[in-house]
């Protein structure tokens, strides 16, 4: 039984890692831009397809593909900021609708470029770390965990300890006051979109060899990310990380001990419970970042 608990715990740590990367990116974009980016799951998908193109098709090293995934999807974020969100800055509903349109465009482009079938990505490594005869974790999953810890730590440092980070937080708290202090709202929006999209892209790229890569793979990811940011508190980065861990552990343990369908119901119930008890989420208000 202890082995089963330990193995489930390792599974949950992996799940928390990639969910938190996606959710934090989504929160960052919402916090700074005030837009709910429905295309965030498709940015995750785009990162996975970069790995298909660069690693599986062009046979370049996996970690180069991952870096390309981060940069490419970050640039997609910049494109979204310039083409969609900036012209609709005063119209949050318009930004939301535009992101849904962009979601469909990305899905269609993936279908046209790669076909509708699940993509085959050669294993990055088949090495498995064995703790006991029945407790193990594949090295490819460890990469995801390590990347999540490093990237989220770097993001924390960036936001708390650098001038750009302060500017970003100021823009999120009060855009007008920040602008009066000489902070360029357009620039902070670009930075937020690049980082937010890039985090989704790198999550997709790192997990691509571990999941089924197809044009619709972003759907379940965005649903999970929305649950997480609602539980954590829309706009709260700390809340997103903590809620990712809570959700991943609850979902993984319930899946293992009771079943996947019950786990989904439990996850949604958790969100509803939080909304009833604390409508702003566990960690704060909607205007924080």
């Amino acid at each position: 039984m202890l082995d089963l608990l330990a193995q489930t715990g390792l599974n949950a740590i992996y799940a928390a890692s990639y969910i938190s990367l996606v959710a934090v990116g989504l929160v960052l974009i919402f916090g700074v831009m005030g837009v709910i980016n429905f295309a965030h799951g498709e940015l995750f998908m785009a990162g996975a397809y970069v790995v298909v193109a660069v690693y599986a098709d062009m046979h370049l090293p996996f970690f180069i593909a991952v870096v390309v995934g981060l940069l490419f999807v970050g640039c997609l974020g910049l494109l979204m900021e310039r083409a969609l969100f900036r012209p609709l800055r005063d119209n949050p509903l318009g930004g939301l609708v535009a992101s849904i349109g962009f979601l469909m465009i990305l899905q269609a482009l993936a279908s046209m470029g790669f076909g509708v079938r699940m993509e085959f990505i050669p294993p990055v490594t088949q090495h498995v770390i064995w703790f006991t005869d029945s407790i193990s974790i594949p090295l490819a999953r460890v990469y995801v965990i390590v990347a999540a810890v490093l990237l989220l730590s770097a993001l924390w440092y960036f936001l708390k300890r650098t001038r750009f980070g302060w500017a970003l937080r100021a823009s999120a708290q009060d855009p007008q006051a920040a602008e009066l202090q000489g902070i360029s709202i357009a620039q902070t929006a670009r930075i937020a979109m690049f980082i937010g999209a890039g985090l989704a892209g790198i999550a997709g790229a790192l997990t691509a060899p571990l999941v089924s890569v197809n044009p619709h793979m972003g759907h379940s990811v965005i649903v999970t990310a929305f649950i997480v940011i609602i539980v954590g508190g829309v706009g709260s980065l700390e809340g997103a990380i903590i809620a990712s861990v809570v959700y991943a552990f609850v979902h993984t343990f319930v899946t293992t001990f009771y079943g996947g369908v019950i786990a989904d119901i439990t996850g949604l119930s958790l969100m509803l419970l939080v909304l009833i008890v604390k409508p702003t989420g566990l960690f704060g208000s909607a205007d924080r970042a």
């Binding site: 193995q7 050669p122 193990s136 899946t255 293992t256 369908v261």
Partner: protein, 430 residues
């Protein structure tokens, strides 16, 4: 007059339905064909999305089939030969889109027959079939019910053929006595779970715990695999999981150290699974869908014309994309063509009557009978032998053909019992 008809066996429901069909049918475009005019066949299946692997390869196979038939002059009806043309519509495995597609194909495209994957999409299409009398086919006999007399399951007898794989497993590995089952919670997964439960029970194999049903949106299968392995089973049954699930589940099983037997309805793109696990891990994997280059498909019992040549053409045009359904829709078209030529007409009623004449038909894997009243309420499934396929040294090999009706004659009560438990009998489905 009406009371006399009722007394003669015409129920009020049938009378109203017939009247509705006549009324709607009168407003439909004529299905009669001018000499030499192409016969249009509808292909209404998921071409994108998670279930596309069971739609798109079938359409690719149909294009090859059409080229072969048209190169030989086309389909010969009473007024001469007609080329055949496929009209496709992507239903994305969505019932509403399937309904829209069926309506478009009948009203605008003038198709003579519509092929579907079925499953979750059939309830969306059923009212259209009922109203128009159009002939439809499904790959899933579990869609059949007495309410839809124009729906046939002429190729795949999912999930009933799964019993043949379990029989082979029990015969070959008598020491394997315990199993766990997992499946996605949908119209493909549930009847399949019931069938595997019946097949395991028939052979004295204990299923450990309840089958694990997971949300079709699942992407991380590590927790599911951890749970399956926690009971230390001899056999892991992947049920009728889509290849998007079979691949990551197998990879997880490999990474979590599983070394027992594996059985599944399909093993599409198994070469990729071998690449992600190992040849040794996949050795002995039992499933139900052969590669058509298998020498066993050149036998006299096979009714699929030049199966090996078809595979060769498919592999050349779509390298690495051969899957469970690559041949199935084409084999349905073989039956449809033979029936249309026999009837001398592409009219749905005439073709269906010719197809079912004598209660037997030439199924791809041998002569079979129209069957299913006990299970589906109607004899609209063409059932006979089905191959058992095993991966040996990295290649799918047919290990033999087993009779599904023979199994049912012995264990049909078990199948009905488990189908009832999962509300999958025709009179239980909504």
């Amino acid at each position: 007059m009406i009371s006399k008809l009722m007394a003669a066996g015409l129920s009020r429901r049938t009378f109203l339905k017939s009247t509705a069909i006549t009324a709607v049918g009168a407003s439909l475009p004529s299905m009669s064909l001018a000499a030499g005019e192409p016969i249009k066949i509808g292909f209404l299946a998921p071409l994108t999305g998670a279930v596309a692997a069971w739609g798109k390869p079938g359409l690719d196979g149909c294009q090859i089939w059409a080229e072969r038939v048209n190169a030989a002059g086309g389909i010969e009806l009473s007024d001469g030969k007609h080329p055949v043309e496929f009209v496709s519509y992507d239903n994305e495995y969505d019932p509403a889109k399937a309904r829209t597609g069926a309506t478009k194909m009948i009203r605008e495209d003038g198709v003579s027959f519509i092929m579907m994957l079925g499953g979750d999409t059939w309830p969306g299409v059923q009212p259209v079939a009922d109203k128009t009398g159009m002939l439809f086919s499904t790959l899933l006999p579990s869609d059949l019910s007495p309410d839809s007399t124009t729906l046939l399951a002429p190729a795949e007898v999912h999930p009933i053929y799964l019993v043949t794989g379990v029989d082979y497993l029990a015969d070959t590995y008598p020491d394997a006595k315990t199993a766990v089952i997992c499946a996605q919670d949908d119209a493909l997964g549930l009847p399949s779970v019931a069938t595997y439960l019946a097949a395991f029970e028939a052979r004295g194999i204990e299923v450990l715990g309840e089958p694990l049903l997971f949300d079709p949106a699942t992407t991380d299968f590590a927790p599911i695999v951890t749970r399956m392995l926690s009971s230390n089973p001899d056999i892991i049954c992947l049920d009728t999981c889509y290849s998007d699930y079979v691949h990551p589940i197998c990879e997880q099983l490999f990474q979590q150290g599983y070394a027992g037997k594996l059985i599944s309805a399909t093993a599409d793109f198994y070469d990729q699974m071998i690449a992600k696990t190992s040849k040794e891990f996949m050795e002995g994997f039992i499933f139900q869908f052969p590669d058509f280059d298998d020498p066993a498909l050149a036998g006299d019992n096979i009714n699929f014309e030049d199966a090996n040549g078809f595979y060769e053409a498919y592999a050349e045009r779509h390298p690495g994309e051969w899957g469970a359904v690559s041949w199935e829709y084409a084999s349905i078209m073989d039956l449809w063509k033979a029936a249309a030529e026999k009837a001398g007409s592409a009219d749905p009623d005439a073709v269906m009557a010719a197809m079912k004449e004598g209660g037997t038909g030439k199924h791809a894997f041998g002569d079979a009978k129209w069957w299913g009243t006990e299970l589906f309420g109607i004899d609209n499934a063409l059932v006979g032998d089905w191959p058992v396929v095993v991966i040996e040294n990295g290649k799918a090999v047919i290990k033999g053909f087993k009779s599904i009706p023979d199994w049912y004659d012995q264990h049909g009560d078990l199948l009905i019992k488990h189908m009832q438990t999962y509300n999958q009998m025709y009179d239980q489905r909504g």
